[in-house]
């Protein structure tokens, strides 16, 4: 089997960012849209401040991860902190409530309409 673009490493830096935590808040989907509810403040952890700055407009979890240059899991942990303290709100995707739930035809018709209008 061919290996994909995979590498191994010791991500010590990531444990610093998350204070040693590695379990993420699974409620954040890759495409959950995050919105800041307050301004970044001095004394905040820099990653928290950057997220609040990025999410003045709705921003997907995966975009936050790309902008911060951090793995998805780490970003989910940081977002969990911010959500718990009411500093962000999250708009979760309709289509991703569970692995088994499949999108309905009404939603798909809307997607199709959007694509055709591109």
């Amino acid at each position: 089997m061919t290996r994909g673009p995979v590498d191994t490493g010791a991500p010590d830096r990531l444990y610093l960012v998350t204070n040693g935590r590695s379990r993420a808040d699974d409620s954040f989907d890759l495409v959950t849209l995050v919105v800041s509810e307050c301004e970044p403040a001095s004394g905040m952890q820099s990653e928290h401040a950057r997220i609040l700055d990025l999410c003045r407009r709705p921003t997907a979890v995966v975009e936050i991860a790309a902008e911060l240059g951090l793995p998805i899991t780490v970003v989910r942990i940081l977002l969990g902190d911010l959500l718990a303290t009411g500093r962000i709100t999250a708009r979760h995707p309709r289509a991703a409530e569970s692995v088994a739930s499949l999108p309905d035809s009404v939603l798909l018709q809307e997607v199709l309409h959007g694509l055709r209008n591109l």
């Binding site: 490493g9 890759l30 997607v111």
Partner: protein, 205 residues
């Protein structure tokens, strides 16, 4: 490709304040098949790159002497974005179709609308595994053949369907991943297929 981090926020194109629903479509395929090219051709932003880390006890790792150690691996993938209307935003992910990536499928791509398997006829073997894994995860998909100019074989779609042992109900189309209208056509073919599946499901008691 690779795990280079993305550009600085100053280049960002923010979403509309009214955006409320994110949707996912995944483009799977082997290395160099044109996943990023396809994402770029339809995306409203320059494709961004991100990664996920995975810590697992020796999964897929051959340890000398049978010692199992905890290893951390990084899987990189890129993505683009299409604002469909005021509320809906479609994210298009280009994902490596092989190996350990599939261990992350549930964590990253649960709730995905569907997938596009991008095929290079010169390396058809790469597609087998992706198709097998998508079937395993019960993710509906279409297959798009990215026609490369230096592909002299020009296999017909029928021949390709046979080579991939692809069931008749799975749409199979040609595309040129570099062209926006072609990329758009691939996405429309997928969503049309998904809608037909959903309608069939909804009318069956």
């Amino acid at each position: 490709m690779g795990s280079a981090t993305s550009e600085l926020p100053s280049h960002r194109t923010p979403l509309s304040d009214t955006a409320e629903t994110g949707l996912k479509i995944v483009v799977v395929g082997g290395f160099g098949v044109g996943k990023t090219t396809l994402v770029r051709s339809v995306s409203e932003i320059r494709p961004l790159n991100t990664e996920e880390v995975m810590t697992q006890a020796g999964v897929g790792v051959d340890e000398p002497g049978g010692v199992t150690t905890k290893t951390t691996t990084t899987v990189a993938f890129d993505f683009g974005r299409i604002s469909l209307d005021e509320r809906m935003v479609l994210y298009l992910f280009g994902a490596p179709g092989q190996g350990r990536f599939w261990f992350l499928w549930d964590r990253l791509f649960s709730g995905t609308l569907g997938a596009v398997v991008l095929v290079d006829t010169r390396r058809m073997d790469d597609s087998w595994y992706a198709i097998d894994r998508l079937e395993h995860h019960r993710t509906p998909f279409v297959v798009a053949v990215n026609r490369f100019e230096d592909d002299t074989s020009r296999h017909s779609l029928d021949e390709i369907r046979q080579a991939l042992a692809l069931p008749g109900h799975v749409p199979l189309i040609d595309c040129d991943a570099r062209l926006r209208r072609s990329g758009k056509n691939v996405l429309i073919t997928l969503v049309d297929h998904l809608r037909a599946l959903a309608m069939a499901r909804e009318t069956t008691p």
